[in-house]
Symmetry: C2
Subunit: 354 residues, 2 copies
């Protein structure tokens, strides 16, 4: 990209420093020359994990330096606490419960002045309060964490009340441009009638709850005022094989074989109709379902192989043949890349310096 004249500076506080958070920090550091060339600079002023917050001494003046961010990633990978980085200077550590109060302090200070992006790469419901406070203070929000968008509808409404100030691409299909594409289609006045997606990572999500969260985010994006209890979720295992009734060992030794039997019958029956079974979410005008469905063998969903995600979007412009987005829908690297693209996409809301 050609060189830009002015530089947008984006102060960032990162919540969550697991695999995705650490990849994000490494991407931010390694992309400095690229972003400078695009006229944007990310200033990481604070990083929180589940127990504490590491924050720059003066968040208005400068961020944590890149050497410190690299060391922070190494320390977290090695299981060391954030406080182990205090010796590096120019930073402070606050432990729970003070930590979240300090994030809100930063949001208050920066939200309506330089601006601030709160990036949530955690996997907890605990951040909702801080995020809503941050929105109240004029901050932007970027989420890889699905939970703040899938609890009470009122919370979703609050978090998305300034829709240009929030991005949450990586909550659905990791870095795949699903949310961005649906948002574009809606903005163009092309009404989305249906979204069908294969968005699961079957190793992690036999119960379907993770897919249901993604489906809920898509449904709410389409304007549906629904909650998790309104989604019809078909678990891949019957209740008699569930974790409350059967140990994991028993499930793997005998349960799984029993499960395979039932599924095999459904696979055969579908095949007779020229269909295949896929575990999908369907968001339509009449509601939202998650479960095994028969889909045509030669549709994008039917042809799906391996661990790719696929999303079919139906609208006036994509009526007979849907808009299809397909690719890797999981992984720390890909998810972090989606988060970083979201942060960069907020740049026009930030002050520029010559």
């Amino acid at each position: 990209m050609p060189q830009a004249q002015a530089m947008s500076v984006l102060p960032v506080v990162l919540l969550g420093c697991g695999g995705v958070g650490r990849h994000l920090l490494r991407h931010i550091v390694s992309c400095r020359p690229l972003h400078a060339n695009q006229g944007v600079s990310i200033r990481v002023v604070g990083v929180a994990d589940s127990s504490s917050l590491l924050v720059a001494d003066d968040v208005r003046a400068s961020g944590l330096d890149d050497a410190l961010l690299n060391d922070l990633c190494s320390a977290k990978s090695a299981g060391s606490p954030l406080s182990s980085l205090l010796a590096r200077g120019h930073c402070q550590v606050f432990n729970k419960p003070e930590a979240m109060g300090k994030v809100i302090d930063a949001a208050t200070m920066l939200g309506r002045t330089t601006g601030l992006v709160i990036v949530d790469c955690s996997a907890t419901y605990d951040t909702v309060g801080v995020l809503k406070d941050a929105v109240n203070h004029g901050c932007c929000v970027v989420l890889a964490n699905k939970k703040p968008l899938t609890c009470a509808y009122e919370d979703f409404k609050k978090l998305t009340s300034h829709f240009r100030q929030i991005r949450f691409e990586s909550t659905v299909g990791a870095g795949l441009p699903v949310i961005a594409s649906v948002t574009r289609i809606i903005a163009s006045g092309d009404p989305v009638s249906r979204i069908v997606g294969s968005l699961s990572d079957p190793r992690d999500d036999l119960s379907g709850m993770d897919v249901a969260r993604k489906a809920l985010i898509l449904a709410r994006l389409l304007g549906q005022q629904i909650s998790m209890e309104n989604i019809n979720v078909e678990s891949l295992y019957p209740s008699e094989l569930g974790p409350e009734v059967m140990s994991t060992t028993d499930f793997l030794e005998s349960g799984l074989a029993k499960l395979d039997e039932t599924i095999e019958e459904r696979v055969k029956a579908a095949s007779l109709r020229g269909n295949v079974l896929r575990y999908v979410c369907v968001i339509g005008s009449t509601g939202c379902q998650v479960g095994l469905q028969e889909v045509p063998k030669d549709s994008a969903l039917g042809r799906l192989r391996g661990s790719d995600n696929v999303v079919e979007i139906y609208s006036r412009c994509y009526e007979s043949s849907p808009l299809v987005i397909q690719g890797a829908g999981a992984g720390n690297d890909t998810t972090a890349a989606g988060v970083l693209a979201d942060i960069i996409d907020l740049q026009d809301l930030f002050q520029t310096r010559a």
Copy 2:
């Protein structure tokens, strides 16, 4: 989408009032309530066709009203000149050569104050000068017209010099989110190694030149400083069947059959290798080709049916399995929807009023 507090007002001058331009105007009018709800308002201050410009009396104060825009679409569909709308009042008409000067006047007046979006839905090289002037005056640019981006590399560089102020989604794959997705991937520091696309409408483009223009735009987006003459374009017809040597009637009566014979042999040979033939563009690190290529039968490209476009994007995150975007890649409605999404996406650069 939740209600926004403030309203961004985007003044727009439209160049080109054919099928795409008229669809765009109709979309703008019909989306007023939706956009108001999203906190954005589009003010069409001028519309130009190939011979003249209809412009609001005072572009700083107000745009052409919606009833006039609807009448303008009807008049243009019926073949009437823009001057037929003068009786409606509050507008003026300027004919060539004065018209483009008046567009630049508006750009000068609005570019660095309220802001202005110049939207090019024409299909001519003639707009390049006006667009470059508009960029100099701080205006934003949205293109459905491929030609300004595919002439001299210096022009591309100039037009994209403020990269956040230009959008050109509809130049590649109509409304499909190809440019937006590639831009996101680049911004996230995930290096794109290869793009393979089936982007042709074979009825219009047996020579491959239209696909070559799209390939050039993608290649330049990836940072390649190349021009049309650097693209290796394989025409679907040999030179002895070209329009200079053979009339269209002769081509349809005898040429086509001869062409089919040659192609059929290649189809058979490919099939023996488990492949199928597709007319694709390939943008890689070593250059850019457009032509018939063998692709695996079970790849996204190989499975392509009907008139859909498909684009495969390979990068670090999408290495073994590409990010695939597929769907209708032509049509006035879809192209105009892409243009409208681009305009809306510029909203953060515009002044808000309470």
